[in-house]
């Protein structure tokens, strides 16, 4: 039904374009037009399609919750919990589709009939109202056209409005992220004190398994369950290992590319190194888990060390390889933008090339390089699949790179894989972790971007 309405609107809008254009040509025979005939067509088509489509979209979005409100309003006085109401409503819906297999009650049957009834009314009133709006708005536009009013300006304002709305998508996404994270996190902190989360030393979300919603109200069972310190520590520890691999290799290859490499080497080696950044992270994860992890374990055995097959070293090391191209190409850009006269001055004083790089160019480029490293750190912290596949899933508080640790991202995946129950502190804990991840990476990015921007302005 929905697609029929949608198609009708599209078809009517299309045909009104031709209709409007034809009308313009008719007007042309005795009056001067205010715009090209096609604008008359656009004008009519927009008035035909846009209001009707808007109403149709809003209706489709709000219809389910309005119907739900009407059905459940009969039972709201009975003091039922939110979860029970939800369950009841799901039962009503499945009964109305004849897919219900549970126990039938009179209430359920009555509500299901009411539900079908409402849906029917809603469907037909939607058709009638949308179509009458369409006819009304098209009629209005048609009288406007007949009077030969300006058509180009309104059409262009409409287009500009559409452009503007598209540019709001980025803001809406950010709002959506903050809304979804914050909403769940606040609920989480109503059960778990903020202090316990930020400073708690034990993370065992599996302990918080509840069978039904009433159990979840007892906060005592969550003490010592959601202490995020081991996870934060693990995240920064793995990021540190990654940066220990990525910074030396990335920075040195960036410097070499910028200062020494011949044009040919740059032309070929640079894109090849950048392939490393284009490989999906799940592939790195597989590589770390299947090749690097066992390799380190065997190496450790031959050296008499006990290495976990899912060591922080394997995950961090492979993550470092992934970050090399970010650091190398960013620092390459930064070094190339250092003005040539600084180099010339240094050479004129008799310095060798490496001395110039170490004592003149590197200090001059330092802010930009720090910015690129910060961006790399933010990537390392937000990286998920490598850690999920190659590092452990139990949150150990350790500084031994040969043991396994866990990170924020890995814990989010562990908690949310499979079916989740909203309203369960365990699920909310994942959102709280997500919010901390979002804040940390946001701060890192803002700092890094502003450092790089300031640096660019200095030399431009």
């Amino acid at each position: 039904m929905n697609s029929v309405i949608f198609l009708t609107i599209v078809l009517l809008a299309l045909s009104s374009y031709f209709f409007g254009r034809k009308k313009a040509i008719l007007i042309q025979s005795n009056k001067r037009l205010t715009a090209l005939p096609k604008f008359y067509g656009y004008y009519l088509a927009i008035w035909c399609g846009a209001p009707a489509f808007l109403l149709y979209a809003l209706w489709s979005i709000f219809e389910p919750s309005i119907v739900r409100f009407f059905i459940l309003s009969d039972y709201s006085s009975q003091g039922l919990l939110e979860g029970e109401l939800n369950l009841f409503y799901e039962k009503v819906k499945s009964l109305s589709r004849n897919q219900y297999s549970g126990e039938l009650t009179a209430e359920l049957q009555r509500s299901a009939e009411k539900y079908l009834n409402f849906r029917d009314i809603a469907k037909w009133s939607k058709v009638v109202i949308v179509l009458s709006l369409l006819i009304a708005s098209t009629g209005y536009a048609y009288t406007k056209i007949s009077k030969n009013t300006k058509t180009r300006e309104p059409v262009e304002i409409f287009l500009k409005g559409v452009f503007f709305l598209s540019s709001l998508a980025a803001i809406l996404t950010t709002i959506g992220i903050i809304f979804s994270l914050l909403f769940q996190t606040i609920e989480f902190f109503q059960v778990i004190p903020l202090f316990d989360f930020v400073f708690g030393m034990h993370w065992y979300p599996a302990k918080a398994f509840v069978r039904d919603a009433s159990e979840a109200l007892d906060p005592s069972m969550y003490s010592d369950t959601f202490g995020a310190v081991p996870i934060f520590a693990g995240t920064f520890f793995i990021a540190l290992i990654a940066m220990c691999v990525a910074i030396p290799i990335g920075l040195l290859s960036g410097i070499y590319m910028a200062e020494y490499a011949s044009k040919r080497l740059r032309q070929y080696a640079k894109p090849v190194i950048e392939i490393l950044a284009g490989i999906p992270t799940v592939v790195y994860g597989f590589f770390a888990a299947l090749t690097v992890g066992p390799f380190l374990k065997d190496l450790g055995l031959s050296l008499g060390l006990e290495v976990s097959a899912e060591s922080a070293l394997a995950a961090g090391g492979v993550m470092g390889i992934m970050i090399i191209p970010f650091i190398s190409s960013l620092s390459d850009d930064v070094i190339t933008s250092v003005p040539q006269n600084l180099r010339d001055g240094s050479y004129a004083m008799g310095a060798t090339k490496s001395e110039t790089i170490k004592r003149v160019i590197f200090p001059a480029a330092l802010p930009g390089i720090v910015g690129s490293i910060l961006l790399g750190v933010s990537r390392a912290i937000g990286e998920t699949m490598i850690v999920v596949m190659a590092s452990g899933l139990a949150a150990n508080l350790t500084l031994n790179p040969l043991e396994s640790t866990s990170t924020i991202t890995a814990q989010i995946v562990v908690i949310l894989i499979g079916d989740q129950q909203f309203g369960d502190p365990k699920t909310q804990a994942a959102f709280a972790l997500g919010l901390s991840l979002f804040i940390v990476t946001l701060v890192l990015n803002i700092v890094a971007l502003s450092v790089v921007k300031k640096y660019r302005e200095k030399y431009e």
Partner: protein
Amino acid sequence: MNKEERLIKRYKAEKRFQFYGKAAIFMALLFLVVFLTKIFSTGYTAFQKTWLVIPVNYNADLLYLDPDKKPTTEDINDADFYEFGIETFISLDPDASEDQIMELKKMFAFTFERELKYYLLDNPDSFGKTVDVKLTASDDLDQVFKGNYPRDIPENRRRASDYQLKIFDKLDEDGRVISEFNASFFTNADSREAELAGIASSFMGSLFSILVCLSIAFPVALLAAVYLEEFAPKNRFTDFIEVNINNLAAVPSIVFGLLGLGVLLAVFGLPRSTPLVGGITLSLMTLPTIIIAARASLKAVPPSIREAALAMGASKMQTTVHHTMPLALPGTLSGTIIGLAQALGETAPLILIGMVAFVNTIPGTPMDPAASLPVQIYIWAESAERGFVEKVSACIMVLLFFLIFMNLGAQLIRHKFEKKWN
């Protein structure tokens, strides 16, 4: 230390520094080579599949069919091929004990009933005769044949028993073990049995997600970029949008997964595990990438084009739609393809919105539950059987092939259609 010695030392330092630089580049390239070699060397065998060709007697009595009448399609469909298959396997070793018969059965994929049936349906003439039929070998024997399984370890640590290996070697000597191109890897959906698992379902899942992502992200990003670059007034709000876009580009992908879960699934009630939700989530993620690329290519269109159009009496909107946008399109398109390639390799957000479900049917619309290629890699990598390791590598090869293909396409568009302004 005199002057010469100092100079020699300084030159040595220079050489050392250059060496470090070269070593760093070499290390980075070495990682890439090791990485690709490892993937290819473990993965290429997955494109081959091991078949056992065994003599099958399509005897009417064994199938409980009328020997004097040619069976119709319905008769064959109704016939019981399980018992028939077991009888066929016993003919490989007539002295087999009860346990050994079970082992014989386990040498074949559990689809042997279907394979025997379809052979007869395709070749009705073989009814009543003994013919050679190709049956899929179990993944354990498949791995043994490909040499991925050591045979010299004790029997209790092996998946294939001594007895199975004996029969298998006998078949091999008779030339009854053949290895052919594994078409089912591309046409089958996921399966719990490694020898039958394929990437068709996850491929379709990826395709649908990418199409949904493209159809949302491309128009919105293009229009947003046009607004910001051509129409937006210079004010605080525009700056705010810009900062927003730049930050969004660096938000970890898993946060978009949380957004999909918390808003698309929980608030809007869209169906879980579907490419529709996956595509929308990915489109929000690729939006900033495309906007940034589109703005860069709009910026690259020289002002003289705009001025010329305006001088000819075109309105601002006509200038933009007729002249600026078409010229910026190649750059935008190549940015879009690169953004889509990123989205294609993305795993974490799809896991959060439930696209990790085990899907053994091939999805037909974006509203059906599905996995995607990277998620399939994750699912297979987590399962213990050796047969899946080569499947994972092969799946990675397919994924990398598409990524390379898309990136080359982006390069091609950029070089071929983008105008250079000097």
